[in-house]
């Protein structure tokens, strides 16, 4: 069994995000990490390896060259090899273009499961997994708190307000998992050292048989503006008070606005 985990390198959560003149994210300006929700997908894939259900895990990412760091960090957690798709024509690519590229790469890698996190920390579109599944005409098993493989079938456990469902589909599938999978493992020191020696290939659009024109210059959507959230006016800070007193002040504030 082989799993490809799609990961994205994003700016560190809470880092100051800056934009270039043409309203693209200045990725060099902030510390870059693996999209935190992708770490759960990595963890799920590695657990299936630990259980003996999966033999090979490959990481796939589309991004600028520096995204190779995220792939190395994933390899440090475990897994066998990685592929980075990078191409100047992909600068400013939106979710549709990303899905086209990943779908082409996944068709080439042909895993039993194409596994992803449920959203990215920067754009938070959550559109890519569904688009990839549709483009590849494969079932999508989404929002799993657990992924199981057996008898040519994949199953995810999806939590609902009332309990949980098990949703199954024959392999191959596209699947996404949530943070309910459980804490992602830390990369051990030996893992970090081994990651340097694991194979990491770089593919361009040409390697996927795609052209820049086909992707219509990389984006169907267009960013028209990017600005920080507006300050909402003077805020009242309740601080340096004993807990009981602070709680009373907060309750009074809410009651004065008829919120409680």
């Amino acid at each position: 069994m082989k799993i490809v985990v799609c990961i994205k390198q994003v700016p560190a959560t809470g880092a100051d995000k800056r934009y270039t003149d043409d309203l693209r994210l200045d990725r060099a300006a902030a510390e870059a990490i693996i999209n935190p929700l992708d770490e759960y997908a990595i963890e799920q894939a590695l657990r299936l390896v630990d259980d003996g259900a999966v033999e090979a895990v490959t990481y796939l990412s589309m991004g600028p060259e520096q995204a190779a760091e995220a792939l190395r960090r994933a390899l440090a957690m475990g897994g066998d090899d990685a592929v980075l798709i990078t191409d100047p024509a992909l600068v400013g690519a939106d979710e549709w273009a990303t899905a086209r590229v990943l779908a082409a790469a996944l068709d080439k890698l042909a895993p039993d499961v194409s596994l992803m996190g449920m959203a990215s920390d920067d754009a938070r579109g959550s559109l890519v997994p569904g688009a990839v599944a549709a483009m590849r005409t494969l079932p999508l098993l989404s929002y799993g708190s657990e992924l199981k493989l057996a008898d040519g079938e994949a199953r995810v456990r999806r939590l609902t307000a009332a309990g949980f469902d098990w949703i199954a589909a024959p392999l191959p599938v596209v699947a996404t998992v949530t943070d309910q999978v459980g804490e992602p493992r830390y990369a051990s020191l030996k893992g970090i050292m081994a990651a340097k020696r694991k194979p990491l290939e770089t593919w361009s659009l040409a390697d996927l048989g795609l052209s820049a024109d086909e992707l219509k210059g990389g984006a169907l959507t267009q960013v028209t503006d990017a600005r920080p959230p507006e300050a909402k006016g003077p805020t009242e800070r309740i601080e340096n008070l004993p807990a009981a007193e602070a709680a009373t002040k907060i309750a009074d504030w809410l009651a004065a606005r008829k919120l409680i």
Binding site: Y186, A187, S188, L189, K190, G191, I192, M193, N240
Partner: protein, 388 residues
């Protein structure tokens, strides 16, 4: 020789810092309050391959360079000084074997030490022999193919949780400590060995500091490290290197205190302003930062010289431990001051850091002993004849 951090060192630091911030720092207050040896963190460090950093790959270690080992200790100590003793003492306990042991002894013990399955400790100090190592009294009497050990040790870090000890005892009492001491590997499940009590301490309270008793403890001659009478030399060579671990610990403690002080001062408001905007506080923080960095750089310079096998290695490691220990005490004291009244209460970490810092001026050679070592080198370099 100039030290510059490599990309690998930065990556290593980031890895340990993440672990320390997420898993070690949240446990620090509890470990201190309960004087609890953190077995969970020992397992975590073992899992992350952080207890094998001074062992070779053939034994399952990662054989980091000395600067890398320093960084690991520093980043753990920044979160918790007690936990940082786990990798420090794992190396300290193994160093006599690393420096003077046979391949057979290394093959026998290092795989389990590198994996963290076993813990090592170093048993040299006795109740009446601290700085004055040569006045050790414990005996090791040859009996056929064995040695029989009798005596006691005091202030042995991790002595009560270790699986294997490197122990120093007189094989030739008449020759005195300098010529008549030998080193032995003792497994703690050997009959006659006991760790009857641990000390109640000012700081590093989660680290068990044990009294050890040896009552006709029998070890095979194959467990003697080096030749008969090599013990004093092995002990000194060990401390020449292990004291760098304490320097690293001290740098880490200082950094943790500085970070806590900055965080607090940036938040706390008095007289309508943030405390961190007061010049007086900025001056204090600047002094704390520059002194910590100076201690760090001296420690790395010493680490580089250890790897280069510099002939004046003791001068460097003693200098580093001296400066770093005193810096940690000063910086943590200032950190408490920056936090004011809040610095004195256990809800904030700096009072623990100050209590933890003090030990770095005391163990693995007091600051006074470090000064003697440095002075000895100064006299030698200046061509001053030894006292007649």
């Amino acid at each position: 020789m100039t030290y510059l951090p490599t990309a690998e060192h930065d990556e290593l630091r980031a890895m340990v810092r993440e672990l320390a911030d997420e898993r070690i720092a949240p446990r620090a207050a509890e470990i201190d309050a309960n004087a609890e040896f953190p077995q969970d963190l020992r397992k975590l460090l073992a899992q992350q391959d952080l207890l094998g950093i001074c062992f070779e790959e053939r034994h399952g270690g990662t054989n980091l360079d000395t600067i890398g080992q320093t960084i690991v200790v520093e980043e753990i100590a920044r979160a918790d000084a007690t936990t940082s003793l786990i990798p420090i003492v794992q190396k300290l306990g193994a160093l006599p074997i690393i420096l003077a042991g046979s391949d057979e002894q290394k093959d026998r013990y290092f795989p389990r030490l590198a994996s963290g399955e076993w813990l090592a400790a170093f048993a040299l100090t006795e109740a009446a022999a601290g700085s004055d190592v040569a006045s050790n009294r414990m005996r090791a009497t040859r009996d056929g193919d064995d040695y029989v050990l009798n005596g006691s040790k005091r202030f042995i870090t991790h002595g009560s949780v270790a699986d294997v000890l490197t122990v120093f005892a007189l094989t030739d009492p008449a020759a005195g400590g300098r010529k008549g001491m030998s080193a032995f590997i003792v497994e703690t499940d050997t009959p006659g060995f006991a760790a009857p009590r641990v000390e109640h301490k000012m700081g590093i309270r989660g680290s068990p500091t044990a009294e050890l008793t040896f009552d006709d403890v029998r070890v095979p001659a194959a467990n003697r490290i080096g030749a008969d009478g090599d013990g004093f030399k092995i002990a000194m060579a060990t401390l020449d290197r292990s004291r760098l671990g304490i320097a690293a610990q001290a740098v880490g403690i200082a950094q943790g205190a500085l970070d806590a002080a900055i965080g607090y001062a940036a938040d706390r408001r008095q007289f309508g302003e943030r405390v961190i905007d007061f010049q007086g506080i900025q001056w204090m923080l600047a002094d704390m930062a520059t002194q910590t960095e100076a201690a760090r750089q001296l420690t790395y310079a010493a680490a580089a010289r250890v790897d280069a096998n510099a002939p004046d290695l003791p001068y460097w490691t003693s200098s580093a431990k001296l400066v770093a220990g005193d810096t940690a005490m000063r910086v943590t004291t200032d950190a408490v001051q920056v936090l004011g009244g809040y610095g004195y209460i256990t809800e904030y970490p700096v009072e623990r850091m100050m209590r933890d810092a003090k030990i770095t001026q005391l163990y693995e050679g007091t600051q006074q002993i470090q000064r003697l070592i440095v002075a000895r080198q100064l006299l030698a370099r200046a061509g001053v004849a030894k006292r007649g």
